[in-house]
């Protein structure tokens, strides 16, 4: 079982996955954009500007998801000292930062015609900005610190402290009166979004997930090569 997770086996699996994603990505992207920009109906209240949702919502979900996963793996790494989790986190953090920034920027572009302002210091927006800052601090530990042990400790602490912000982001729209609308899609309970908008949103989410997976795999492959390069003479 553990032999399967050796860096060599992972390396071959990564190669295959990158090829697979590359082969289907463009087709799913075209389908997603067709649904998002042409086939999905305008909102009865917001009109055409609602189409920003198809890039804003998946970006925010991936930004949050990446940080949740980073925290989970950091805790596991803290307990079990599995070095692989360190490389997974290192490869995943820039993707999370990218999507968090995109969620903030596209949210701002959605806010201007809807709320009449680019930015407001409201609970949801501010907590997303804090998440972005935690991502920056997290990535900076890899850039500024030299000792691997210290990087693992500091980055894990940042991830664990930053995870306090995750439920705040999720429930900010319920706990405080905010400009941001409450969640339309619920895992438990009925969603208030129409299926004609739900389908494009799910296709766009798939596009974003595939892109995130592709970048992650390339970054992770780079990490494996970096380690192998270090150990080439020892091998």
């Amino acid at each position: 079982m553990f032999k399967f997770f050796s860096s060599t086996n992972i390396f071959f699996l990564i190669q295959k996955l990158i090829k697979f994603i590359n082969s289907i990505f463009f087709l799913i992207l075209v389908i997603g954009l067709t649904f998002a920009l042409i086939l999905s109906p305008p909102d009865y209240l917001q009109g055409e500007v609602v189409r920003i949702m198809y890039v804003h919502v998946p970006s925010a979900w991936i930004g949050l998801g990446c940080f949740s996963l980073i925290t989970f793996l950091s805790v596991l790494n803290f307990i079990f000292k599995i070095k692989n989790f360190y490389f997974i986190n290192k490869s995943m953090a820039p993707i999370g930062l990218l999507f968090t920034c995109l969620a903030i920027v596209t949210g701002s572009l959605w806010g201007q015609p809807t709320w009449g302002t680019w930015w407001a210091w409201d609970a949801r927006l501010t907590s997303m900005l804090i998440l972005m800052m935690f991502y920056i601090f997290y990535i900076l530990t890899f850039k500024l610190l030299n000792k691997e042990e210290l990087i693992i400790k500091v980055s894990s602490i940042i991830a664990i402290i930053g995870s306090i912000n995750l439920p705040i982001i999720k429930y900010s729209v319920e706990w405080w009166a905010t400009l941001h609308q409450p969640a339309s899609i619920k895992i438990s309970g009925s969603s208030s979004i129409h299926s004609e908008m739900m389908l494009p949103l799910m296709v766009m989410l798939l596009v974003f997930l595939l892109y995130a997976a592709l970048i992650f795999l390339m970054k992770y492959k780079t990490e494996i090569i970096r380690i192998k390069k270090k150990n080439i003479k020892r091998d």
Partner: protein, 77 residues
């Protein structure tokens, strides 16, 4: 009809700008990541070239990753 699609009833600027920013950022990150990966592959190959023939064969024998990088690079070159 096309002009309706472009203007999006006055919201075109916000919609197209959002999609463009996402598309451009993702493209830049993709090419930057790919470039870094290629750079490391090249550096790995260069490191392999500095080894003596005996060391090189030993490294290739033991490291399937090295074999794979060498094979991929000979395909692309």
């Amino acid at each position: 009809m096309i002009s309706d699609f472009i203007t999006m009833k006055g919201h075109g600027l916000y919609v197209w700008l959002s999609f463009s920013i996402v598309f451009i950022s993702c493209t830049i990150v993709y090419y930057k990541t790919k470039k870094t990966l290629k750079k490391y592959e090249q550096e790995f190959l260069a490191e392999l070239q500095t080894l003596t023939l005996e060391e090189k064969n030993k490294a290739l024998e033991k490291s399937k990753v090295a074999q794979q990088i060498l094979a991929t690079s000979s395909k692309t070159n």
